[in-house]
């Protein structure tokens, strides 16, 4: 039994934490929060690229570090902890994973080295309006060469250079790659609950596009990409949850009311203990997801759904109870609690809400039992 990260992976984690403590953190996140003109922090993004993190799981042959997905999970946890305002998840968990999963050799050779070097920013577009996207309600249409339709919201769609679009092709669904810097694409920046990460509406009018993977295989591919991204997002959520618990714990030790630290009251202790239990449950499920992702295990769809269901609930709970523990201060703009509360909602909704993942989890459990 070795259900833990290796010493090398742990030292990568320490390294990442030090780097982010220096280069990221609330002050950097707030630069994006307080400036409606920017949707990510360019300096931090360059730093992340220089560290090689964008290519952590990309093979060396394609310009990456070739480390693997366990290393990527470790980085994701630290980025989540730091509420990093960079398009990392869109570029790495979705875009790069889509190409590693389904891209042709030519596509991989053309895109992955640039992506690993931080020269391009990728994103992934599935939603078209309220409700979860399904193979039948998708309207965007790809004909093998051009794309028409609209996607809203697209995470990091306002700063990305490339997008992978889930679109109808004939009677089926395909994945299409679109370069965003072209006349057929209109981007509108969206106002969202988490302004520390950009979101856009993307409209395509005969935009030039190329297929990724086989025609008609797009929905299955998209689901596979979502499963991989789900594990990685779960690590960001675990990192964010842990940061909330630590913030709340520190505050509860130092804040006095009724002439004693508020952390000496059971009402606060039990709240923080509940947060701790939720994080342990989320972390353990996420580790299982990490194992499944890194070994390409048949359990990945089940593990991904469990990771995501546990982590979304944990981060929501930890973020809201962190505010509550801070009392009135927690409700001010200047205290960082709301950064996590905002990010918790973004991460819970991206690529499927908690209800969607819980339903996926049960369906996959039924399939596993039937098998």
């Amino acid at each position: 039994m070795n259900f833990d990260f290796s010493d090398d992976q742990k030292s990568l984690k320490d390294q990442a934490r030090k780097f982010l403590a220096d280069k990221a953190g609330a002050k950097v996140t707030r630069r994006v929060l307080d400036n409606a003109e920017v949707s990510y922090d360019e300096g931090l993004w360059r730093g992340v690229a220089e560290m090689g993190w964008l290519g952590a799981a990309i093979p060396e042959a394609h310009g990456g570090l070739g480390l693997g997905h366990l290393e990527l999970c470790v980085l994701a946890e630290e980025l989540g902890r730091a509420v990093a305002p960079v398009p990392f998840s869109s570029t790495v968990y979705f875009f790069a994973e889509a190409f590693m999963l389904a891209g042709s050799e030519a596509q991989k050779a053309a895109l992955l080295p640039k992506l690993a070097a931080g020269e391009i920013i990728g994103c992934f577009a599935s939603s078209e309006g309220p409700g979860a996207p399904t193979p039948s309600n998708i309207q965007a249409r790809f004909d093998g060469a051009v794309l028409n339709g609209a996607k809203i919201p697209v995470p990091d769609g306002d700063c990305a250079s490339h997008v992978v679009v889930v679109a109808k092709e004939g009677a089926g669904v395909s994945l299409a790659l679109v370069e965003l810097d072209q006349p057929g694409v209109t981007r509108t920046t969206l106002k969202t609950l988490d302004p520390t990460r950009g979101h856009a509406k993307l409209e395509f009018k005969n935009a030039k596009a190329e297929r990724i993977g086989a025609a008609g295989q797009g929905w299955e591919l998209a689901e596979a990409v979502l499963d991989r991204a789900a594990v990685l997002i779960a690590f960001e959520q675990v990192g964010g949850s842990q940061a909330c618990l630590e913030m709340a714990t520190e505050y509860a030790k130092s804040r006095y009311a009724f002439s004693r630290p508020i952390g000496s009251f059971q009402a606060i202790k039990h709240k923080l203990a509940d947060m701790y239990v939720a994080i342990e449950v989320a972390r353990s499920n996420a580790y299982y997801g990490a194992w499944a992702l890194s070994t390409e295990a048949a359990e990945l769809p089940f593990a991904a759904a469990a990771s995501r269901a546990a982590a979304s609930d944990a981060f929501y709970m930890c973020a809201k109870e962190n505010i509550q523990t801070h009392g009135g201060m927690g409700f001010t703009w200047d205290v960082d609690c709301h950064l996590y509360f905002r990010r918790a909602k973004l991460l819970a909704l991206q690529a499927g809400s908690p209800a969607v993942w819980k339903e996926k989890l049960v369906r996959r459990l039924e399939q596993r039992n039937a098998a």
């Binding site: 039994m1 070795n2 259900f3 833990d4 990260f5 366990l70 618990l245 714990t249 509860a252 030790k253 004693r260 630290p261 952390g263 000496s264 009251f265 059971q266 606060i268 202790k269 039990h270 923080l272 203990a273 509940d274 701790y276 239990v277 342990e280 449950v281 989320a282 972390r283 353990s284 499920n285 580790y287 299982y288 990490a290 194992w291 890194s294 070994t295 469990a306 269901a309 546990a310 609930d313 209800a355 993942w357 819980k358 339903e359 989890l361 049960v362 459990l365 039924e366 039992n369």
Partner: protein, 411 residues
């Protein structure tokens, strides 16, 4: 990351498996396990015989030092044996508290003579032990114990009452927390003694539980004489001794009890949806709840794998393992409640002849409240997590600097 044993662990697991296959019957269904009373004499006889076989084969006291008849292996091997044993119908329950909690305390604090007298016989199953800590006025606050021991020459004379004592009715000996000095602060006036459960003046009475069954006892002590050489630790140091016992409680791996998410899933396929068409399994609200149960049950199982990994590297488990009971007891409550409510009005029937899976959900529903209290209430366990894992300050205490006899007790 992998889920594989090391070579040494795999060899041990194979050895354990071979032993269990030779000496145990296959596992019985949960409902049968729940319906089986531990009070039967046949069961106890079988349990003692099994423990003796375990001791002879080297599977008793796996982590104990060799000088005490153990095997001197790291805790991971004990966990591995426990995992394999759980796959069989092994009558190990009567020894869990004695060997898991009492005897490690005896080994830590007993004199050479005491260890010579008791350790081997406990390990071989010849003698069974129980733990006498809780009292009617000392549950979560067990240091408030007031069962009194007064020195009379070389003897202690004990009077008072203990409660919720698992296995007292079939135990031969117990470790007993007594008040020996009421004139000092509560934690400083306690002493730990070894009591012969068959001694004159020891009266064991079963507790009639809210669930209807009788799994625990109250134990009354009337002028019970105990030799001073049966003291564990110094007089007045009993609280420190008790903490060692309670720390060992964590090592006794707490599993779940009652029907789990797999069982309610089986049930849901054939039960009809309480609110409309189709089966319970097709009910959207049920499916969302089921997902939560799956995530928590799997999360707990996987958290134990993380603990095992730490054990495998030679680390000792900390208070983190307290999450298990907080998760499991509530989950047991929720699952049984959901199954019963899904039956609509029919759910009120708990007759095993009429209720689903022979009434196991109903039994679980009635037992779950006890599990939320036993072995440390959810609230005490959350305090432990908050104080010992998160480092939050202790609650303000109303008993500091006050002699035990002057403490308010509300009566």
């Amino acid at each position: 990351m992998d889920f594989n044993d090391t070579t040494e662990e795999a060899a041990f697991r194979a050895e354990a498996r071979a032993f269990l296959e030779a000496h145990c019957k296959p596992k019985v269904a949960e409902k049968d396990r729940m319906n089986r009373s531990l009070r039967g004499l046949d069961y106890l006889k079988a349990a003692k015989a099994y423990q003796k076989q375990k001791a002879q084969a080297g599977f008793a006291g796996i982590t104990w030092a060799k000088e005490h008849g153990g095997r001197g292996l790291p805790p991971i091997f004990s966990v591995i044996f426990g995992q394999e044993e759980a796959k069989f119908d092994a009558p190990a329950a009567p020894f869990a508290i004695g060997l898991g909690m009492c005897l490690p305390t005896v080994i830590a604090f007993g004199s050479e003579e005491i260890k010579q007298r008791y350790v081997a016989k406990a390990l071989s199953g010849e003698e069974i032990w129980c733990q006498l800590f809780s009292e009617p006025g000392a549950g979560s606050d067990v240091a408030a114990s007031k069962t009194k021991a007064v020195k009379d020459g070389d003897d202690w004379i004990v009077n008072g009452q203990k409660v919720w004592t698992t296995g007292a009715h079939f135990s031969d000996f117990g470790i007993l927390l007594v008040r020996t000095n009421p004139d000092v602060e509560k934690h400083k006036g306690l002493t730990m003694l070894i009591v012969d459960m068959k001694a004159p003046g020891v009266d064991v009475r079963p507790i009639h539980q809210a669930s209807g069954g009788s799994d625990f006892n109250e134990v009354y002590f009337t002028d019970v004489r105990i030799k001073d050489d049966h003291r564990l630790g110094d007089s007045g140091q009993g609280w420190g001794v008790a903490l060692v016992t309670l720390m060992n409680e964590r090592l006794a791996v707490g599993g779940s009890y009652g029907p789990d998410y797999k069982e309610i899933m089986n049930f849901a396929r054939s039960a009809s949806s309480p609110t409309g068409e189709g089966s319970l399994m097709q009910n959207e609200a049920f499916r969302q709840k089921l997902a939560d149960w799956v995530v928590r049950a799997e999360g707990y199982k996987l958290a134990k794998f993380r603990t095992m990994t730490a054990l495998s590297k030679g680390q000792t488990p900390g208070p983190e393992s307290s999450i298990g009971k907080v998760i499991n007891a509530n989950q047991m409550m929720d699952i049984s409640n959901a199954a019963i409510e899904a039956l609509d009005h029919y759910g009120i029937i708990d007759d095993p002849a009429l209720a689903p899976i022979d009434g196991a959900f109903h039994q679980s529903y009635m037992f779950a409240p006890g599990l939320r209290i036993a072995g440390g209430t959810d609230e005490i366990l959350k305090n432990i997590l908050a104080e010992r894992v998160l480092g939050l300050p202790q609650d303000q205490r109303a008993d500091k600097g006050i002699a035990f006899k002057d403490l308010p007790s509300g009566r």
